[in-house]
Point group: C2
Chain length 473, copies 2
């Protein structure tokens, strides 16, 4: 989230950190460093902490906070005092962030937030309750307060909430020379930027100029001669995921955020977008396995709560599958081999279905799958189901026939597997497609339906065919 | 991959595209646009295609290529002729890229590649066979050829392979003024850049300066007074995933790529890193569901092949689970209710295990889980397993007891579920951790082991306890 650290620190400090990299080869924080920090916290050795911890990059300090014992975190923050870089809080789990913020005096938060880029400030403010938020905002200078309020007024997960409200904007009639002089003199610029915006007196966005374009152009040239039209500006209400797709599609480094009237209100930068991409990919992965909003720092009760809904729905569908088996209890009593083999039919169908489903959900998320190629992909998946059904139907049929010395059993399980793997393929692609079309998130609920279908189809086809074949009454 | 399109096109063209956005609201290419393009291809209407297709952004052209019928693709490319923007090929599935490249004359490829940024050029060249690669390289100017060869010499998926070899580098004793003048006059600069590098006469990297820093500094200041030490330079041999983590951690926009001797050989940019992040997230997701390297454009045979290995391993473990059931055939014959209920025990364990496993694999991939917090997370997962085991053991025990009017069955399934969900939790976290520690990719093989353990434990505990309780002999 933050890029303030790098710019604020002098070169000597960075060199010092490079010499004493805090990470071990596997990417975790070095154990000896953790030990030293732990000892320094226990000894209240503020000299050591100021020297070796206060100068860390915000994301390194964040990793350190996550690596030390939970009870050491508040102690470290209070020992660092004013030298604690609050930007580190944008790099830690929400639970840790809230815990620390709640224990910090609002004065210190307000002071730190006043110095942060607005996107980092909002990231910390948005989790606080209304009262603390107001108290902190009240301590800030007027313009700062107005800016942060504007971001906070946009709904969560929108471009407006994620944007940075500091930006460089110039009128179109300025020359490149004027623009450069302005940037040399103005003290109030964002900490880092890659693009200048061109606006009219009402702040309506006219265009953008990349910094390299400014540097490559003679001083006498007017800005409007080198500005680009902003075909990729982002409405403040746009969902952050949609904005991230714009960045990916057009390889943007930053994009203007505009309000309903086309007025420039902020800038969305690629570092925030990278975080969004990571979050969305993680969300899809966790949703597919039925895990809710969950963080590593969650307690047993919180983690349990995030997983119970999915397990509950699955226990319902498992009971339905069981009742399908119950229809054939007479058959099973006569031929116990069926009970032994039936989980293979259901399980292989479940695996094949989840393969197809994962490919489909991912393709929908990355917009690789749409109405134009859906018919082709459905045909392909049906083909894959048929082919793999024949391969594994034959294989398992052979194994089962030899195992129970009964070719009939082999033939029955082979047929049931072929049927179930076809059903798995169709369920795996059609269910996510239908959920997506109806506006639901296919990652959330596809797996429940797919598993239910492969279980029911597997048990019903296998036991049903056997009952018919062996004429059990 | 490419950002050339935006800079090359004039503002009028961009405005025209904005007016006629090629995308529908759901993000797919607009159907009427596809129809017009299809008709134009059929009519060999090069005027329409040059006007409405040749000017598209590379990524839009890529989406169009993926959306039209496979047989139209080569026709479109050949109708566009020299106006076909090869950068679009960096935006399409590998199969489509290879198909088109194989049908293009090497002269045209060489010419287009000479104008591309080197990272895009390498992206297209690396898939070609040795012979075509050499023929195309031979047609390029000397410096270009040397640069591309250098990238291609680095192994796949390294920073060296993904880097761009065009960059701006200046000596430390230049002033800001000299640097700006150089950039104004040199025609041979990269298409876009955000950072300039500071090097000594042997190309050894001394530091970097962000463009905004250059613009904010007076002309008389020396570069070495404003340069930053490059603590985040990337060795060319570094794996691209590791490099991506550096970008995320330090919010980099670009990073110097250096060879073994610390000499600057290229620059890695955030747009390539975003692609890497997407690819890696996708890989984890697909691996967890047992899907190999697969693309939407793959044929039935290719897709089948990517999924058979996983299904095969699963069919083996399914047979092992079945043989566990076989141990208790006498019990099942006496009490058919057990056969009806046993898939619930195994299935719920499988679901709980895959929840824990997904959380673990994701935490390992993002380095959130390491040796410092592993003991805590293992304890937490055991706690979650115990808690959810008690919840769902009681629930299913109650349902089963009422269903079969037999409190013994209810008690037995409740106990077995508690055991299996504890086993699932431990398998779900320990197996990925052990695989990771032994150097294997936990995303690839965790699920097989976890499912095998929950199936075997589920069947064995449920049927075993029942056999002992009901004294079946």
């Amino acid at each position: 989230m933050s890029d303030t650290g790098d710019n604020d620190r002098g070169s000597e400090e960075i060199a010092a950190i490079e010499d004493s990299d805090i990470y071990a080869d596997d990417g975790s924080v070095r154990s000896d460093f953790l030990m030293h920090v732990g000892a320094a916290i226990a000894d209240r050795d503020t000299i050591y902490l100021r020297k070796h911890v206060a100068g860390l990059h915000a994301s390194e300090l964040g990793d350190l906070l996550e690596a030390i014992q939970p009870e050491q975190r508040l102690a470290l923050v209070s020992l660092l005092g004013k030298e604690f870089d609050l930007a580190a809080l944008t790099e830690v789990d929400e639970a840790i962030r809230l815990d620390i913020v709640e224990h910090l005096p609002n004065e210190q938060i307000a002071e730190a937030i006043g110095e942060m880029d607005s996107d980092d400030a909002v990231y910390i403010l948005e989790d606080l309750d209304q009262e603390d938020q107001e108290e902190i905002l009240a301590k800030l200078p007027f313009t700062e307060r107005v800016r942060l309020r504007r971001s906070l007024d946009y709904p969560e997960s929108t471009a407006g909430r994620r944007m940075q409200t500091e930006f460089v904007a110039v009128p179109p009639f300025w020359t490149v020379g004027q623009t450069i002089d302005y940037m040399r003199e103005d003290e109030d610029l964002p900490d880092s930027f890659t693009q200048i915006f061109v606006i009219d007196p009402t702040f309506k966005l006219l265009g953008t100029v990349d910094l390299d374009r400014v540097l490559r152009t003679k001083r006498s040239v007017k800005i409007d001669a080198i500005m680009r039209d902003t075909s990729h500006s982002v409405p403040a209400e746009m969902d952050q995921e949609e904005a991230a797709q714009l960045f990916e599609q057009y390889d943007l480094l930053s994009a203007a955020v505009v309000d309903d009237n086309g007025r420039l209100v902020g800038v969305l930068t690629i570092d925030d977008v990278v975080d969004v991409i990571q979050e969305e990919a993680e969300e899809d992965l966790l949703r597919l396995s039925g895990v809710g909003d969950e963080e590593l720092s969650d307690s047993v009760a919180e983690a349990s709560r995030s997983r119970v809904p999915w397990l509950f729905v699955n226990s319902m569908t498992a009971c339905i599958s069981a009742s399908v088996i119950g229809l054939f209890d007479a058959t099973i009593q006569q031929i116990v081999a069926l009970a032994i083999l039936m989980p293979i039919v259901a399980g292989m169908g479940g695996n094949a279905g989840s393969q197809t489903m994962t490919v489909t959900v991912r393709a929908l998320a990355t917009r690789g799958l749409d109405i134009h190629n859906a018919p082709r992909i459905i045909r392909r998946e049906a083909g894959v189901g048929l082919l793999n059904g024949m391969i594994f139907g034959s294989l398992i049929g052979l194994v089962a026939g030899l195992w129970f010395q009964d070719p009939d059993i082999g033939g029955i399980i082979a047929t049931a597997m072929l049927i179930n793997m076809m059903a798995a393929a169709l369920a795996g692609i059609l269910i996510p497609l239908l959920l997506d079309k109806s506006g639901a998130d296919p990652a959330v609920s596809s797996a429940v339906f797919v598993t239910a279908i492969t279980d029911v189809t597997g048990f019903f086809s296998f036991l049903g065919i056997a009952t018919w074949w062996f004429q059990v009454t």
